[in-house]
Symmetry: C2
């Protein structure tokens, strides 16, 4: 199996730790001593040979990627001239992999997710690879733990015949669903057979390229130009030019929803996309006082239910349900139920021209 | 007029800004760019000639004092071998002043108070000096703004005749009262004629020494030994030896309460002893969102009534009534009503042997 880590995002939702110069995936968010992209890579150890691991990343982060993942050779770091969402990024990775091995089966994985249970993850991914080799686009369906309204959902249907010999069940996909409202989400969980779309999937590279050709001919056209230049001295120039006309579109909307043979296998491994600071409490165990200390030394008096990520000693007195995120040049203190407003903070800083804090 | 700044304390109530190496009085607590002792000195400008300003301070802080108040000559920094409360400190200052000018009138002022209205302060102090010259111990009575239970009170009685020519009224003192309970404090404010004891007073140096001789003969005995050594090469040794038998006692309890001629003149100048972080809100104006920003840049969303002292950018989201104190190596976040528990934090750190954080 090959693997492609998608490291193109530059999210602001984990400010002040996630910055333009060091987006979330290049930061140690859960305090385990690894950055998220490092964890994403090490999570594949034993399943994907080191030389079959690729990263797609913005040009400006190529050096940071090489620094954080020294196992990668320069060829394994595929750079995008600019962000065009996931379909072009995946297409770009596919033409590189196709050149190397037209029948390659590859897993595509966001760089910034947290998946604590590595054994379950590897079992799900290798099962997906097995079925993908037979001609399916196999997505991992995250077993939902509550009616989240911030994720897309996948509705499964019958179990596939290919599933019989696999390590875990694999289902046909009935359809992909947009982010639901609260009531709809509750209905999904009550009904069963609905999973979160975590954006992790496995497929044959030739099949992915065929789907892009069929469903996204403009993207495919650009990829063809880039392919023609691969290996030549003009490769970079051709890439930059082709990229200027590359449409921006997601793989979910552009390919998965309309693909011919889509399957799903469940992932029940404590997955989180750590989309906001309060999600830390889902992936970092809380202590006896119900405080979740991702990073930093803490001394608490009459304080419960707080989330702490700090680079220094933090003392708490009589406070509850706060998220306290403390970095070298900026400190964020908020009620943990309102951490989605971090983007408003970043927006205000941008409006004020405080580029050094973005 | 002479002035003696009492800089002997090493309070822990303003941790993490107040530290053993740099106690409160040597820190910029209200974010005005001056340390508290610097403000205390500059508040006397125009009233006390520079060469008549003295500081009594622990030996270990003599260098810090000289650094922060470069106007002082070494003779103006009177060092104590160890802390023995206010009566010995004041006695020690008095024997130095007496040598220079037996009829000196001196003001004694804690180094760590905040008094925003300098004009009112100088008027009260010069009025006190005028009456002190006639043979009174004149204390400043802080006009109370609410029934505080953390201060001692002064009950005034009739206006003094000496008051007639003074810039503001001066009263006889009926008595000094210990910290009251809530109900008693409310009674004081309802009755009127009660003032907070801020520990600022003015008197003739010879009179203070006479009161110490009469009321605190042990202290006086030690002071006599020290006086005998003054100017000799053995002065430091004699001081150290005498100080070993020096009792520890406050000027209020040891002298003021039993003194023969005690007067009081009101001080209504926004005084605060900044005894805990929540007191910052009394001396630093709040902004339109009712947040009190003593130091630091702040960006707030849906947040009111917070107190901020920070060395970096602070973003607040959906939080109210917090005190957030952010220094280089430690961060304190607490509900502002519970800031008296800061001492418990310091105690826990001490028990853990975390001397670098004390």
């Amino acid at each position: 199996m090959y693997a492609v880590i998608l490291a193109g995002g530059s999210g602001t939702r984990l400010w002040p730790r996630s910055r333009q110069k060091q987006p979330k995936q290049f930061a140690d968010i859960i305090g385990n001593g690894e950055t998220l992209i490092q964890s994403t890579a090490s999570r594949l150890q034993g399943l994907v040979p080191e030389d079959q691991l690729y990263v797609v990343v913005g040009e400006q982060y190529a050096a940071l990627t090489a620094e954080q993942l020294p196992l990668l050779t320069p060829k394994q770091i595929v750079t995008e001239p600019s962000g065009r969402n996931t379909a072009p990024a995946i297409g770009l990775a596919c033409i590189h992999l196709y050149q190397r091995d037209p029948s390659a089966v590859a897993a595509f994985l966001p760089a910034d997710h947290v998946i604590p249970d590595r054994a379950s993850f590897q079992r799900a991914l290798s099962c997906a690879a097995e079925v993908a080799a037979t001609g399916y686009l196999v997505t991992l369906g995250i077993t939902p733990t509550f009616p989240h309204t911030g994720y897309g959902y996948i509705k499964s249907s019958h179990e596939l015949a290919a599933s019989a010999t696999a390590a875990q069940p694999v289902y046909a996909v009935e359809r992909f669903l947009e982010k639901p409202d609260q009531r709809t989400a509750e209905g999904f969980l009550a009904a069963g057979g609905y999973f979160w779309n975590g954006g992790i999937f496995v497929c044959r590279v030739d099949q992915m390229l065929a789907e892009i050709e069929r469903q996204l001919p403009e993207v495919y056209g650009c990829l063809q130009q880039i392919t023609a230049g691969l290996g030549s001295t003009d490769a970079a120039t051709i890439l930059t030019e082709a990229w200027q006309t590359m449409p921006s579109i997601s793989i979910d909307y552009g390919v998965m929803e309309g693909a011919c043979q889509v399957a799903m296998t469940p992932l029940n491994a404590g997955w989180s996309d750590v989309g906001s600071w309060d999600a830390l409490a889902d992936v970092v165990p809380s202590n006896a006082e119900q405080n979740c200390i991702a990073k930093g030394e803490t001394l608490t008096i009459d304080s419960q239910g707080n989330i702490i990520y700090s680079e220094r000693m933090v003392a708490l007195i009589g406070v509850s349900d706060l998220a306290i995120i403390d970095t070298g040049d900026a400190l964020l203190v908020g009620h943990k139920s309102q951490m989605q407003k971090v983007k408003n903070v970043v927006e205000q800083l941008r409006n004020q021209g405080r580029v050094e804090l973005l």
